[in-house]
Symmetry: D2
Subunit: 338 residues, 4 copies
Amino acid sequence: MKYIEFDKSKKYDLILVGRVAVDLNPVDYYCPLNESTTFKRYLGGSPANIAVGLARLGKKCGFIARVSDDQFGTFVTDFFDNEGIDTSHIVRCKNGEKIGLTFTEIKSETESSIVMYRNEAADLKLDPADVDEDYIKQGAAVLISGTALAESPSREATLKAMLLAKKNNIPVIFVLDYRAYNWKSDDEISVYYSLAAANADMIIGSRVEYDFAERFEGLDGTDLASASYWQNKGAKIVIVTHGKEGSTAYTCDGQSFSIRPFPVKLLKSFGGGDGYTSAFLFSLFEGKEIIDCLEFGSASAAMLVASHACSQDMPNVAQVEAFIRKEKEEYGEMVARV
Amino acid sequence: MKYIEFDKSKKYDLILVGRVAVDLNPVDYYCPLNESTTFKRYLGGSPANIAVGLARLGKKCGFIARVSDDQFGTFVTDFFDNEGIDTSHIVRCKNGEKIGLTFTEIKSETESSIVMYRNEAADLKLDPADVDEDYIKQGAAVLISGTALAESPSREATLKAMLLAKKNNIPVIFVLDYRAYNWKSDDEISVYYSLAAANADMIIGSRVEYDFAERFEGLDGTDLASASYWQNKGAKIVIVTHGKEGSTAYTCDGQSFSIRPFPVKLLKSFGGGDGYTSAFLFSLFEGKEIIDCLEFGSASAAMLVASHACSQDMPNVAQVEAFIRKEKEEYGEMVARV
Amino acid sequence: MKYIEFDKSKKYDLILVGRVAVDLNPVDYYCPLNESTTFKRYLGGSPANIAVGLARLGKKCGFIARVSDDQFGTFVTDFFDNEGIDTSHIVRCKNGEKIGLTFTEIKSETESSIVMYRNEAADLKLDPADVDEDYIKQGAAVLISGTALAESPSREATLKAMLLAKKNNIPVIFVLDYRAYNWKSDDEISVYYSLAAANADMIIGSRVEYDFAERFEGLDGTDLASASYWQNKGAKIVIVTHGKEGSTAYTCDGQSFSIRPFPVKLLKSFGGGDGYTSAFLFSLFEGKEIIDCLEFGSASAAMLVASHACSQDMPNVAQVEAFIRKEKEEYGEMVARV
Amino acid sequence: MKYIEFDKSKKYDLILVGRVAVDLNPVDYYCPLNESTTFKRYLGGSPANIAVGLARLGKKCGFIARVSDDQFGTFVTDFFDNEGIDTSHIVRCKNGEKIGLTFTEIKSETESSIVMYRNEAADLKLDPADVDEDYIKQGAAVLISGTALAESPSREATLKAMLLAKKNNIPVIFVLDYRAYNWKSDDEISVYYSLAAANADMIIGSRVEYDFAERFEGLDGTDLASASYWQNKGAKIVIVTHGKEGSTAYTCDGQSFSIRPFPVKLLKSFGGGDGYTSAFLFSLFEGKEIIDCLEFGSASAAMLVASHACSQDMPNVAQVEAFIRKEKEEYGEMVARV
């Protein structure tokens, strides 16, 4: 069943709004970050990774963002260009703002943390004036990221994109994507997550992220309560992820669909989420059944936690299909399905 | 007909959120401000004036605000105490922020302007942590002011109050109250006015203020379009004011009611709006018909533009009634009704 | 003896750098400020008052400052123009900064305090680019005020004016003028007061102000230690004021000269200092002996503490002379001399 | 001859004030930075490099600085500890400030540039309260870095350290170390460089850096004019560097001593300066003749431009001596002497 209609005649399958950043992953990992001596740099940032994931899967993406006016700004723009992502609405900052950096600490297969450089980060300087209604109208859907709500003026630029999408009957996908940087208080997070979720057609996030979004709503903290609350506000699909416990998609017809991770040898414990989201959205845009969307998403996630990079290692359709085939051969048809 | 239900069992008829300020009106007026040499100081700020208006009319108000930790903070708190307005949730700023000032320029009966001191103004430091759900729950209604949305953290504090009122089924009254200070861009105004209006049970503002609220909505700029758009989002009463052309209240049953100003000798061209709002709300809380609410509001407005102060000259019920009686004797029963 | 040479051929006797502000003095005084209802507005700010004082005494002053781009900016500029003070280097702020305000509380003849509006004050936005060497060179002396060092960019603008005066062999007069606003820490005050005092030809301030300037110098807190320390750095005249105990000027030839206040019926306990400084400087520019400079300064101070305003009530030469004559007739020739 | 006396009884040969940072040098160099994929991280920051250089040469250093409260803060503190540099006055920032980063672009042996992350950098948060007079007094000399003057509160902390050193008769070494980040205007640079240089016993910088320091001094732009101007203010040794043209030390007895670079195969064109300064200072502390100090400095500089790192590759005494011996054998005794 189709829960959300996407207008196939639009120039872009998806227009994403939010951060493009740089990841610096240690080459000498499985130790504390202060002992790592060498780092590989990759394009990063949740919406940027999702865009690359979708591009690899054959979808056409546009991106609205601010990046630094330096060699890293050049690197990420060139990377997008090479992937076929439209960069016509990527603006260079002019006041010395730097692109966000994420140094990752990979202590073991399952323990990791990050050190983020996000003070005066270029992405948070996205200005409402950068958000162009004519461009928004070229998208079959608009994706906004919670981190883009953390600070002005990116906050208002993102809300403007959301309001303009609504005005033009374009579905809004809200990726909660919470990062504990830049926010001034839990109340601030809850205010903006609540206002954005109330305007979204699809929401995707972890249990912890929904809890942030619902601090002023008086819910009981269950996934079912979250799903029915936001569906009552207009959401058609509400996905709650639970890490290695798997995830569930709740649809506005009262159904729910669950998936669990494919078994895989982990290299690191992060990076799967953006693969999951991009592969889920690809399948949704293709018109697949929700359970198939979830399986495709879960497969991409599994492939990425086994890789060193995130963006750079995003798989194409054939690779995801091959992975699923191999896993099913090894573990059985229902390996990921609950 | 009752468009909005107010719970009479609550401790307060209304809890207001927003600015308390100080007005400095010239004693030697009808000249440019730079030539005025002497000023009288009054309590000011739109929501503060409305609270005083309601208190004079016998209603019980609570107020959530930040004021300066100096003699002016003492002055406004004492003034509220004397009027019977609850000041238990008025917080003193601790980092040298000063209470907002408004110097008024009264060039003639009909020409005026203002010079506002609102840099690091105390009211804009209202913090989400100052907004207490238990207090909100004691109000039969909550009033938020557009100017309180102009800057963080007052912006988030105000949105939190709105969300908590909604959670507790308390009607939200949104007074657009636009001031061209502190806002960074027109887009910023439109984003927040739009999000707040979509959550309001009653909205009151001028045509210009609605235009700000609707820049991302694609409406046609008519009052009727505004009314039906916001009613579709949940508003029950939408009032659009047009200065000396009068004003119209649109109700969610498709009716509209218009009023025009009572003829009066003006002293100045400002200060009527807060009288209007307080007297309208008083009548609404009393359960009067909309047209009678409007007449009562219009009478208070007329009395205030004929006075030097705003807050200090707010009339009580007997005074408004006497004014209306006298006007009707002089100009006929339909003097203000359209 | 002449301790400092002033080049009489220069266009201006003095170029002042620092704040122009507005004072609001209560008309209904001798009560706490929160009970005062009516205020008279005057031009204020220590260097602005000194400029007016000098202009009334017949000296030609230039002024480098930033003021607000509103009616108060017009008021102070017009006031200067009327006094014959050059306003060609008074710049209007363009980002909504407001001119500083000082509300005075006059509790009794001897008790007073102030509430200052100095957040984003126009004067503290004075930019180094506003300081023009060609203009500085037209002054026979340059006066800088300690309060102008409280925040960037006014801090750097003031230090630039000081350095350019030194480069051009123009005497620098440093008025310590400490106000407990805007400074971040005592260390910050001490750093800048120390660096400025080390470059001054004449320093004037209270004991408390010297103590701030000397926290990193290891002195013993006596006036004599202050005088010899700063004279060793290059100062020719060091004046330490002690309120109603009088004041002493220390000259670089090892002499000292003391004065005490003229007996007078006080209206308020502030406002004398700028009269003192302007009348002292006038006399110094005229080539008078130090003790006569002090007497003239003390007389002006006495006249101002008996008046409601500061700037507006600055006396001319005939008025000061008449005041001294009258006082001497009543109290004897040595009334103020120690 | 000894131009500056260093008290050998002090606990530390030198106390340095300023930045500790992290360098990220590309492993795949000789291409534009946007094409480099892998980076090695080193401790960096001019005064930090100088401290490491001196420690390797056997001198005892103390350091006053702020670093980030994260794994990079741990890395640099551990590195200092391992080198024997005292870290008792290295403070962790508590408001999310990050340690400064320098990504280097090595396009060829002679072309390089940098991308610096210095927004809200930890080192610029050094607070005057972090500067402890008792610690300062334990140093035989105090070194301040020009970059530490770029922003408050580091600016005031550095000036406080300078004033306290002067108060305690401890020589001040001012390393101009100009970086085009954080400064608001050229005037701001000139104000602070001028005030610091006027208080220094030794100054070291490039011609361009002296030009910044002297914009308000009216000099003619020659090294000789710089030297005599600052010597007149109190400097004993003034060193002007000219990159591959060599450098000259001007002493307060009117002599000058010149050195030129040792011939060496460059890996990169930066990183030599801090080696030069540390080796020069080591020799000066040892009581060597100025020309020998310069030769030792130049040798260390040559060794570092041939290395990938800066701090990590600082040589010890035996290594510098061996390098000089080898160079002289190959190129003659006067290889570096002019």
